[in-house]
Amino acid sequence: MSENVIEARGLLKTYGEARAVDAIDLDIRRGEIFGLLGPNGAGKTTTILMMLGLTETSGGSVSVLGFDPVRQPLQVKRRVGYLPDAVGFYDHMTARENLIYTARLLDIPRRESNGRIMQALKSVALDDVADKRVATFSRGMRQRLGIAEIVMKKAEIAILDEPTSGLDPHATFELLEMIRGLKKAGVAVLLSSHLLDRVQSVCDRVALFNKGKIALMGTVVELANQVLGAGHPLLVEASGIDVAAALRGIEGVQQVLPAGEGAWRVVADRDVRAVVARNVVTAGGSLSRLSDLQPSLEEVYTHYFEGERHAA
């Protein structure tokens, strides 16, 4: 079942002459994690704000869970959780009090809200600081409190704008675990980010934004095939012989590029690992590493924008 929870058609946002979001089509399916990627100013935040009805659209249509965010914003906002870029809480209030305020705004019955808030705080490991003032919280804790708000809300869709920006690697890892937790609970997650390798590890599908348009969309493997060309990239580390020559001689190898001291990056149109190993060893070299490279989003990204720059 791949029912769409968000459907955008020809979604447009103009600021004067400039097109911040230029007629994009986008579908987010139920229960998937979808990543919006792109350089600064590509239009990711603007797209998100239009989906929430927080900024007016200049054209096109968007439907969130069957509701129109422009005409039915309350319906949309009741069902969608939003973690803004650099989220803020009321510093003079405790974590629990902040969530109580949100619960009141959501009109959650008082009997229910206490339990839901504690449960949500526990799910992001903030239950032991529930009664500390938010002023004392670190950036990572605030982000987690934002996730707790979405959990408490029992949102069907979570929209996270740059959720990992400004977090250290450990905090990032924890946050991504929580995002996976949301997905496990059946929540569709839409996130925007710059941290490509991190995004790659959680996203089912991604869309690459460029100047307000969606340049590429699909799974990471699909994008890699599209941008880097189909093939099996390998990393070979060997010594003792002219490794590059030995590799070039192999049938199916398209590209051999140096990738550091004694290392080569090989792209072939089929799986050539066995042949590579045999050739290197029989030629008298010593093979220290032979690994299948996952196509990386980072590569797709740089490659794509490099191509753009050349084209321009």
Binding site: V70, R71, P73, Q75, P84, E149
Partner: protein, 318 residues
């Protein structure tokens, strides 16, 4: 474009939060201190003066508010005229832009609430805080009167003094709306406070002078007829009434000085037939001040609507 759902969804929680934030804030304590310092002197000295006056005054309690004691040349209501705007500005100057700067605005607006509800909830929370503060002050004044004068107030006096309280809240509402308008227009809380205070000083210091200068400018070099004279006087009053403080003091004059028969300019001939110094009944006084009160309410609504329109167009992102 038609939007669905009640525009009042979520007003209650915003109102309650604002109220409790205000009432527990240090800022509110400072403002209360201000009011007490500014209000206590006039009240204490008027009570002193009133105790020495032996003549039976039917409106003794109202005099506490209005007389200018010898020691301090300012009555309680003139002190309030000056101080209420300061309280209102203190409560409202950062109500929207601080949410923006703390980055809580987009998170709150992503909950099911319209922007108008947020703004109105904040406004009503501030207004309620003002009302609570003024009520406390009012009770203190009455309590002090009871203790020092030794006689209880009459029903009419309480009714008129209560009218004063209501008018004071509306007056505060005008300034609260002004402060909130600035808090929507300016992202910086300091700028917004500065502008609101600037406007406050403008109305209290500059405006009377400007109004006079304008009248002098319009007036012919030589006044040749009564009509001309009346016209000039009326222009002067109309200009003064553009300041909320003028409306407030005129309304209080009518309410707290029952002898007041007119609030505009009046020729001696028009007074013919009126019994001088006879107090008006309450309903007549209310009728008299009605234009001033509606003026204050209208001003409050207009400024609030302006704030709403600006807020509606604002981008929520940082």
């Amino acid at each position: 474009m038609q939007r669905e759902g009640s525009p009042f969804t979520g007003i209650g929680p915003v109102f309650m939060k604002e109220l409790s934030d205000h009432l527990t804030s240090i800022r509110m304590m400072v403002l209360t201190l201000f009011v007490i310092v500014f209000g206590a002197f006039p009240v204490a000295s008027s009570l002193q003066t009133l105790r020495t006056v032996v003549s039976a005054d039917a409106y003794l309690y109202l005099r506490i508010f209005t007389i200018e004691p010898q020691q301090v040349p300012i009555s309680f209501i003139s002190a309030l005229n000056f101080i209420i705007p300061l309280m209102a500005i203190g409560l409202g100057f950062d109500s929207v832009n601080s949410e923006f700067n703390r980055r809580t605005l987009s998170r709150v607006l992503s909950q099911p609430i319209y922007r108008d509800a947020l703004l109105l909830g904040k406004f009503l929370g501030g207004l309620m805080t003002l009302a609570v503060g003024l009520l406390a002050l009012w009770l203190i004044v009455f309590g002090a009167g009871l203790l020092l004068l030794g006689i209880p107030p009459r029903g009419v006096e309480v009714a008129r003094a209560f009218g004063f309280l209501v008018v004071a809240v509306f007056y505060g509402g005008v300034w609260l709306a002004i402060a909130m308008l600035f808090s929507v227009v300016f992202r910086s809380t300091a700028t917004s406070a500065l502008c609101a205070l600037g406007l406050w000083l403008f109305f209290f210091i500059l405006w009377p002078m400007i109004a006079n200068a304008l009248v002098l400018g319009f007036a012919p070099a030589e006044i040749t007829s009564i009509d001309q004279y009346v016209g000039i006087q009326e222009l002067a009053i109309a200009l003064q009434r553009l300041s909320p403080g003028t409306l407030f003091s005129e309304a209080l004059l009518g309410l707290l000085n029952p002898e007041t028969r007119t609030l505009g300019f009046m020729l001696p001939t028009q007074m013919r037939g009126a019994i001088p110094n006879a107090p008006l009944p309450l309903d007549q006084s209310l009728l008299l001040i009605w234009p001033q009160v509606t003026g204050l309410i209208a001003g409050m609504i207009v400024v609030f609507s302006a704030a709403y329109v600006v807020f509606q167009r604002e981008e929520v992102r940082a």
